[in-house]
C-alpha cells in the first residue's frame, strides 16, 4: 500500500480499524511489563523510592514534546499539501498531547516536593512546559470555537508551527539556563549516564507510552473522520437552493 493510498481517508479508516485491536493489545502488554519492572527497580541511593516517579514522569514529558512534533508535521501537511487527513491528525492529537503535558507537569511537581522541597518553581524548564500546556489548551479552544474544520485547521496549523519554537527551548532550557531541573541523562551525546536498572524500565515505559499515544491517536483520528462525514452529510441536506416561484 503506497503512502498516497494511505492518505485516502476511507483507506485510512479501514486500516486503522484493522490494526487498532493489535495496537491496544501490544500497549497493554508492554505497559504491564513496564509497570512490573518499575515496581521491581531498586531505590536510588539519593532519591530513595521517589525515583519510581521517573518511570512515568519522563515518558510523559517526552511525549508532551513528541506530540507537538507530530502536530507540526501534520500542520505542514495542512499548509503545503492541503490534505484533509493532516487536519484530522493535528486536531486529534491536541487533547492527547495536552493530557500528557498535564501529567508531566503534575508528576514533576509531585516529584519536586520531596526532591526540591517545593511543588513549583518558576524556572526555565518548568515554565516552558507550562507554556506548552497553555498552547495546547489554546489550540483545543481554537478547534472547538470554529465550526468550519478546514478554516480552523489552517489557523491551527500556523499557530502550531509558530509554537514549535518552544520545543527546542524546553529541551535545551536546562543547558542554557541553570535550573533546578536535571539535565538530560538518557538522551544525550555520548551515551546514557543512567544505571541499567533504571534505564531498562524507563525505556520500556517510554515505548509503552508511545504505543499508547499511537493507539489513542488512531482512535481519535477515526472519530474525527467520522465526525467530518457527519458534517458533510448535514451540509448536503442544508444546501441545494430552490429557485423562487
Amino acid at each position: 500500500m503506497t503512502l498516497t493510498e494511505l492518505a485516502n481517508p476511507t483507506r485510512f479508516l479501514s486500516l486503522a480499524t484493522r490494526i487498532l485491536p493489535w495496537l491496544a493489545m501490544a500497549t497493554g502488554i508492554l505497559l504491564a511489563i513496564g509497570l512490573y519492572q518499575s515496581a521491581m527497580a531498586p531505590d536510588d541511593y539519593q532519591q530513595g523510592a521517589t525515583v519510581k516517579i521517573m518511570f512515568i514522569h519522563v515518558p510523559n514529558a517526552w511525549l508532551s514534546m513528541f506530540v507537538w512534533g507530530v502536530m507540526s508535521v501534520a500542520s505542514l501537511g495542512t499548509l503545503v499539501w492541503r490534505h484533509p487527513l493532516a487536519d484530522v491528525a493535528a486536531k486529534a492529537a491536541a487533547p492527547i498531547g495536552a493530557a500528557f503535558t498535564f501529567l508531566a507537569l503534575v508528576t514533576g511537581s509531585l516529584w519536586g516536593r520531596p526532591m526540591w522541597g517545593t511543588y513549583w518553581e518558576w524556572d526555565a524548564r518548568l515554565t516552558s512546559v507550562l507554556i506548552l500546556f497553555l498552547m495546547y489548551l489554546g489550540l483545543i479552544a481554537l478547534w472547538r470555537a470554529v465550526e468550519d474544520p478546514s478554516r480552523a485547521a489552517r489557523a491551527a496549523a500556523v499557530l502550531t508551527l509558530v509554537g514549535a519554537i518552544n520545543i527546542p527551548i524546553i529541551k535545551f532550557s536546562v543547558d542554557w539556563w541553570n535550573t533546578l531541573h536535571q539535565p538530560a541523562s538518557v538522551m544525550k551525546m555520548g551515551g546514557s549516564s543512567l544505571d541499567k536498572s533504571f534505564l531498562i524500565p524507563l525505556l520500556v515505559m517510554a515505548v509503552a507510552f508511545s504505543l499508547l499515544f499511537i493507539t489513542l491517536h488512531l482512535a481519535a483520528m477515526r472519530n474525527e473522520i467520522l465526525r467530518r462525514r457527519l458534517r458533510a452529510l448535514q451540509m448536503l441536506q442544508a444546501s441545494k437552493p430552490v429557485a423562487l416561484p
Binding site: G48, A99, L226, L230
Partner: protein, 59 residues
C-alpha cells in the same frame, strides 16, 4: 516493595496517570459511539453518501 517516607507522592502520581489515561480512553470511546449513532440516524433518514457505501462502514 517499600516506598519510603514519600509513598503518598508516588502513589498519587501513579494514580493520577492512570486516571487521566482512563479518562482519555473513555472519552474517545464515548465519542466514537456518539458519532456513529448520529451517522446511523442520518443514514436511516435517507441521506446516502454519493459513493453508495454506508458512511459508517469502517472497513
Amino acid at each position: 516493595m517499600a516506598l519510603g517516607p514519600y509513598a503518598s507522592f508516588i502513589v498519587t502520581s501513579y494514580a493520577l496517570v492512570a486516571a487521566v489515561v482512563l479518562i482519555l480512553i473513555v472519552w474517545i470511546a464515548i465519542d466514537h459511539r456518539r458519532v456513529r449513532a448520529r451517522l446511523h440516524e442520518l443514514e436511516s433518514s435517507g441521506a446516502a453518501r454519493r459513493s453508495g457505501r454506508g458512511a459508517t462502514d469502517l472497513t
